[in-house]
């Protein structure tokens, strides 16, 4: 039996403490904080605050690449990690299809977006170029392109646990056999948004954070990135790579409690730590050191201490928080801590906790004060994010193998990962309607577009769009809660409620229900409103409620809070395959048995700045034609009309369901370097085959065709190749003419696939040649190819 245990063979890091593992470790050894004044941008409100700013020339270190500061930080760390793993000259014999990238991100290109808004609001200048690298997916796309990775590529945004969540996801992919080598980690730059956001929540300590100290009042923000090369042990050994440490265990949970505050008793954090230990088949007594999340907010440190005491009883191992060294680097935090844990295991020494001086009697926990030598075989590293998105990771010494662990791993059989799952419910909010019946009608009768005001262009400018319109949020959400949710949050929550029958919750424990809701761009309107307010009022009175709804993973976490689901909770943010990535995460939890039910979906909303950029670039105007897939009607620079909406599907493990709507299998994400239709057809065939589905069983390939020659011809050619492989004609279909062009459109495509299988939507409204299928529609593949080359698929069957 092959051992797919994930091991770490390379690490890279950049943060305020320096560039490179050696430089950062030197500051840790010296117990020296690198916090200092903010010079990256001017901030009237926080000019005197200590922050963890990177002072190296990031542009220069990143070399000749284009991207946001976050993207560049990530690439700098990735280069170091690759070199450390002996991969700077390429992957040698490793098949690039077995190489992937999963990164965490929260800030993305906000610095550029802030510049755009400042120029617009202060000087009425249109600097749309500054928006170019806004998307959080930029770093993963960039790293994947630079190294030529053709395996799974994705970005996860679970706030301050995102880096740890990315490492967890990479470990899953390796264990499942989806990849042999992953780059995993995260990068986040400082931004006005996060500085003022945490400020508005009264969570900043201007004088530098004091983790676990009796006088602690909040965090110090920082920036940076850390990337790890994580490989399957068998392939790492085969190529002669030096194993630096093992990723021995990982676990995730959701508090399902509050948007920003942790559950005070620490039960969510405890669950994540327990799951990580279970996964690693470890007893609490085998943990020698805890790298705490330790943000130094009064609530976090109290909650984390309670959770640690519950887990370890009276024998809490030595604990440190490294936050004062270089600040809280948000998404990067868990990844930086992972790199430091690897270093601790190699050096047999642990960091201290600068900033801690006065013990807090109420906590009854004194962290390690200064760097010290200590034998360490296993390190537990915690990361907790807004929304109660908790991730715990356990790192093990490279050469450590306890007899007990060996014995257990032999009887621990690998999980059958790719089984079919049942589709128990679907819910949607879209321009085509909000129920299957409405959507079926819309497909037959056409979907109305509407006008969306774009004052950023001119007082009278309007864009033609596929707007979701009114979706009756008040029927699904109590008024007191409704007023606190952004429109996008409402949209996702309504779709989730529609997809989930409360009956299901009666037989399944809350911790067995996971939620993964993707988004391409997140709550754009609330994010813009928060930043507009900063610019127009010179950072006076920043609005906390707008900040909390700007946090991407509030999409998934508010569903968990509302419905009380405490399983894994995640928000993938990977352009057009955000939904497919969510699907993969949900399916992974179901396949392993950690979840019995998974709510997966995606949602995106229209925003005037996003529209303004497209209008300015001549992509569309008031008289643009509606989307007509495969018609080739768009000219010159025109693009398909934008839309918005969300869809959520409730999935269950196949064996325990009475009357599902349909079944799903062959769930996979990947990346292509170029558009080769034959290669994509083979990828689809191979993905179907490994789940026991013959390509000849396929009736329809449902694609993201949108009326532009570029994707449409490609999709058409893929179907042609597939038909050749199948020895029969497979129909080619589309759905964007009903929902508009947006990052979450494929979630709507999924709903279309289910409607087709159930005979609710007539195939002629979706097929390229507008004809019915020769027989009943029994199997549909939903295939999405994003412009950056990332792709995803699933097979929906009756």
């Amino acid at each position: 039996m092959s051992r797919r245990a994930p091991v770490i063979t390379g690490t890279g890091i950049i943060c305020a403490a320096g560039c490179g593992v050696a430089a950062v470790w030197e500051s840790i050894r010296a117990n020296r904080s690198s916090l200092g004044p903010l010079t990256l941008f001017s901030s009237p409100r926080y000019a005197s605050h200590l922050v963890g700013q990177v002072h190296e020339d990031v542009d220069k270190l990143a070399g000749n690449i284009r991207g946001s500061r976050s993207d560049k930080l990530s690439w700098i760390a990735a280069q170091e990690a690759l070199a450390a793993a002996g991969l700077e000259a390429g992957f040698g014999k490793i098949n690039p299809e077995r190489v992937g990238v999963i990164l965490g991100a929260t800030v993305g290109g906000m610095l550029g977006t802030e510049k755009f808004l400042a120029a617009l609001l202060r000087e009425n200048k249109h600097r749309f170029g500054a928006l170019r690298f806004h998307e959080c997916a930029g770093a993963a796309d960039l790293c994947a392109k630079q190294i030529g990775a053709l395996g799974p590529v994705a970005t996860l945004s679970t706030a301050c646990s995102a880096g740890a969540m990315a490492i967890l996801a990479a470990a899953e992919l390796i264990e499942q056999g989806e990849a042999d080598l992953m780059l995993a980690g995260a990068g986040d730059s400082l931004s006005r948004l996060t500085l003022n956001g945490f400020g508005s929540l009264l969570l900043l300590d201007p004088n530098g954070c004091r983790p676990f100290d009796a006088r602690r009042t909040g965090i110090s923000l920082g920036e940076g990135a850390a990337i790890l090369v994580i490989e399957a042990e068998e392939t790492a050994v085969a190529r002669g790579a030096k194993i630096l440490a093992r990723l021995a265990g990982w676990g995730a949970s959701c508090d399902a409690f509050h948007a920003t505050a942790p559950q005070a008793d620490g039960r969510g954090a405890l669950a994540a730590m327990q799951r990580a230990l279970e996964r690693g088949q470890l007893q609490p007594s085998e943990i020698d050191f805890v790298s705490a999340h330790g943000t130094a907010t009064p609530d976090n440190d109290a909650m984390e201490t309670r959770a640690l005491k519950k887990l370890f009883g009276g024998a809490v191992p030595p604990v440190s928080s490294v936050k004062r060294f270089f600040g809280h680097t948000l998404a990067a935090s868990g990844a930086i801590k992972a790199v430091l844990a690897v270093q601790s295991l190699r050096e047999q020494a642990v960091p201290g906790t600068p900033g801690f001086e006065v013990a807090d009697e109420k906590l009854g926990l004194e962290p390690v004060k200064e760097f010290r030598a200590q034998p360490v075989a296993h390190i537990l590293s915690n990361s907790f994010g807004f929304g109660g998105n908790n991730v715990a990771l356990v790192f093990g010494r490279a050469d450590f193998k306890s007899e007990i662990s060996n014995l257990k791993s032999e009887i621990h059989s690998p999980v059958p990962v790719r089984k079919g799952f049942s589709i128990l419910g679907i819910g949607a909010v879209s321009a085509a309607g909000n129920s299957p019946a409405e959507i079926a009608t819309a497909f037959s009768g056409g979907v109305a577009t509407s006008a969306f005001a774009v004052p950023a262009i001119s007082p009278t400018a309007q864009a033609k769009v596929y707007a979701a319109g009114e979706f009756g949020a008040e029927q699904f959400i109590e008024p007191a809660k409704l007023r606190k949710l952004s429109r996008l949050q409402q949209l996702a929550l309504v779709a989730a409620r529609k997809s989930f029958s409360p009956e299901l919750a009666k037989t399944v424990a809350p911790e067995k229900i996971c939620v993964a809701i993707g988004t391409g761009l997140g709550s754009l309107n609330d994010t813009a409103a928060f930043v507009e307010n900063l610019i127009l009022k010179d950072e006076r009175a920043p609005r906390p409620s707008l900040f909390t709804s700007s946090v991407h993973n509030s999409l998934a976490s508010q569903i968990a809070i509302e419905l009380n689901f405490s399983g894994l909770n995640s928000t993938p943010i990977q352009r057009d395959i955000s939904f497919e990535t969510a699907l993969w995460q949900g399916a992974t939890e179901l396949a392993s048995g950690r979840a019995e039910l998974a709510l997966v979906g995606a949602a995106d909303e229209l925003n005037q700045y996003h529209l303004a950029a497209g209008m300015r670039w001549g992509w569309w105007h008031e008289s643009s034609p509606e989307i007509r897939p495969f018609a080739g009607a768009l000219k010159n620079r025109e693009r398909p009309l934008p839309g918005e909406g969300g869809a959520v599907v409730t999935l269950g493990r196949a064996e325990n369901v009475a009357s599902p709507l349909a079944f799903i299998s062959a769930i996979r994400i990947g990346r292509s370097e170029n558009q080769n239709a034959e290669a994509e057809a083979r990828w689809i065939l191979e993905t179907l085959a490994r789940d026991g589905i013959a390509v000849s069983e396929l009736d329809l390939l449902l694609t993201g065709a949108n009326g532009l020659a570029q994707p449409d011809d490609f999709y058409r050619a893929i179907v042609k190749s597939l038909s050749k492989l199948a020895g029969k004609k497979i129909a080619c279909g589309a759905y964007k003419h009903a929902c508009g062009e947006h990052h979450s459109a494929s979630a709507f495509g999924f709903l279309t696939a289910v409607g087709l299988l159930r005979g609710e939507i007539a195939p002629e409204f979706c097929t390229m040649d507008k004809t019915a299928l020769p027989g009943a529609c029994r199997k549909v593949v939903l295939f999405t190819f994003s412009p950056t080359g990332t792709k995803g698929m699933c097979c929906v069957r009756a």
Binding site: L201, T260, R543, P544
Partner: protein
């Protein structure tokens, strides 16, 4: 002080979009948050922003806010003493 209490009540009702709540429904001696008004900790922070924009009072520590929001009467006194 009574007129300031009334003013704050109006601001809270408008600021938090409390449909159907009248100033008379708010007891000036009860805690503002975590009671019948269904206002939570994020609302408390929103009130911090309102105090800054409307009265020029900058609060940076949660302990200060917690004390000021003990009741509407306490808040009125805090505003009267600290407004700029």
């Amino acid at each position: 002080m009574e007129s300031l209490i009334q003013e704050l009540k109006t601001k809270i009702i408008a600021g938090f979009n409390l449909e159907g709540v009248t100033p008379a429904d708010i007891n000036p001696d009860e805690p503002i948050f975590g009671t019948g008004l269904e206002l939570d900790s994020i609302d408390a922070l929103e009130l911090v922003a309102i105090l800054e924009s409307d009265y020029g009072i900058v609060i940076t520590e949660r302990a200060v806010a917690d004390k000021a929001f003990a009741s509407l009467s306490a808040l009125a006194e805090f505003v009267a003493a600290n407004r700029t």
